[in-house]
């Protein structure tokens, strides 16, 4: 009998590296388009039963930043986010993996889908399939889009030369 374990994808990985891995897929899912997640959900075989742990809600978070990645952190401003927390229910009615989704804007359905995929990705039995079919292509697409934007910006970059000022 297969035990539907959660969280531990590999007994040898440490908690920290598991967190890192999970953070990685959460970031990719959160930046995906709603349509992409909706499509992936539609074609998903064996859709899991699940319950909502906490009602999906929209709120504000303070975004903090640093100029150039250095210097004092400051409050950049507030942004709207939507968060969801769901829990999968296995065939025997037992609650298993919990998944969390935090996405930008007012997007309850997207937050819910991110949370659902987060929960499914924690299931070792389903991780590989979903990772390959959804996360990897999304990551590729997002990287390509970022590189393209970076290339466009680089083309219009102006190098300012500063002469050494003599005091």
């Amino acid at each position: 009998m297969h035990e539907s374990g959660c969280a531990a994808l590999d007994a040898n990985t440490t908690q920290t590296s598991q967190n890192e891995t999970r953070r990685g897929w959460l970031a990719i899912l959160a930046k995906a388009e709603l349509g992409e997640l909706e499509d992936a959900w539609r074609v998903l075989a064996e859709k899991p039963a699940y319950r909502v742990l906490r009602r999906i809600e929209t709120g504000l978070v303070m975004v903090r930043g640093r100029i150039g990645g250095t210097g004092q952190p400051f409050n950049l401003g507030e942004m709207t986010i939507t968060r969801a927390a769901v829990q999968l229910i296995d065939g025997s009615g037992r609650a298993t993996c919990a998944g969390f989704g935090h996405v930008a804007g007012r997007a309850p359905r997207k937050a819910e889908l991110v949370a659902l995929f987060d929960a499914l990705l924690q299931d070792p039995a389903r991780h590989a399939a979903i990772s390959g079919a959804l996360v990897a292509p999304l990551a590729e697409k997002q990287t390509a889009a970022r590189l393209e934007r970076a290339a466009k910006c680089a083309a219009s970059k102006v190098d300012f030369l500063t002469m050494v000022r003599g005091e």
Binding site: G5, C6, A8
Partner: protein, 206 residues
């Protein structure tokens, strides 16, 4: 069993939902808690049901009080048997842990016999008597009409409340705190779906 490492607190398999309808259930519960505090010793029944049983040994009324009143500004202190309820309260209320009873705005207790001395909780200050701990104690049973005789604000003549499962020393410690008024402790006794309040101003005669 497979050899999976199961990091506690990360996979959240033990989490359960809180209120079924968070806004309205919290409002209805708030009203009942308010009524209970305004009428010391009166046994109130929680008007809502939770979407799922809270983690044992946290009772339904105690959980509803936490879901209604606790948030990021109210450090919570839990007694030892309630340690398992931490992830539930942290997730639904976002409340921080009080490192000691003195720093707690709310304290939840299921093992009344092992209750720390009342004076070890926050009693507020003369300027801010509200900065005290509200003690929520799970008891075996609450019965109206006999037991302790309660008098004081909110009670016209007197009211009687019998509490099963409360150590005798609690009454003495509570009586000793009356000389500190308006500083003091407000106590909510909970038993399953029921609750009754013993605010600091209520006088108790056995």
């Amino acid at each position: 069993m497979s050899g999976h490492v199961r990091p506690s607190g990360q996979d959240h398999t033990d989490l359960v939902p809180g209120f079924a309808d968070p806004v309205h259930d919290a409002q209805a519960s708030f009203r009942v808690i308010l009524d209970a505090m305004a009428h010391p010793g009166r046994i109130e029944k929680l008007p809502v049901s939770l979407a799922a049983e809270p983690p044992t040994p946290l009772g339904v009324a105690a959980a509803a009080i936490a879901l209604t009143l606790c948030d990021i500004d109210t450090p919570i202190w839990l007694d030892l048997p309630l340690a398992r309820a931490w992830s539930y309260l942290a997730f639904h209320c976002g409340a921080p842990t009080a490192p000691s009873p003195t720093q707690a705005r709310f304290a939840f207790v299921t093992d009344a016999a092992a209750l720390p001395p009342l004076e070890s909780f926050a009693l507020g200050s003369d300027e801010y008597p509200d900065r005290s701990t509200t003690l929520v104690i799970e008891v075996v049973g609450l019965v109206a009409g006999r037991g302790m005789r309660l008098t004081g604000p909110g009670i016209r003549h007197d009211t009687w409340l019998s509490v099963a499962g409360l150590p005798a020393r609690l009454s003495e410690e509570r009586a000793a705190l009356t000389e500190l008024l308006p500083r003091g402790l407000d106590i909510i006794l909970v038993s399953g779906m029921h609750l009754a309040a013993l605010p600091r101003w209520t006088r108790v005669a056995l």
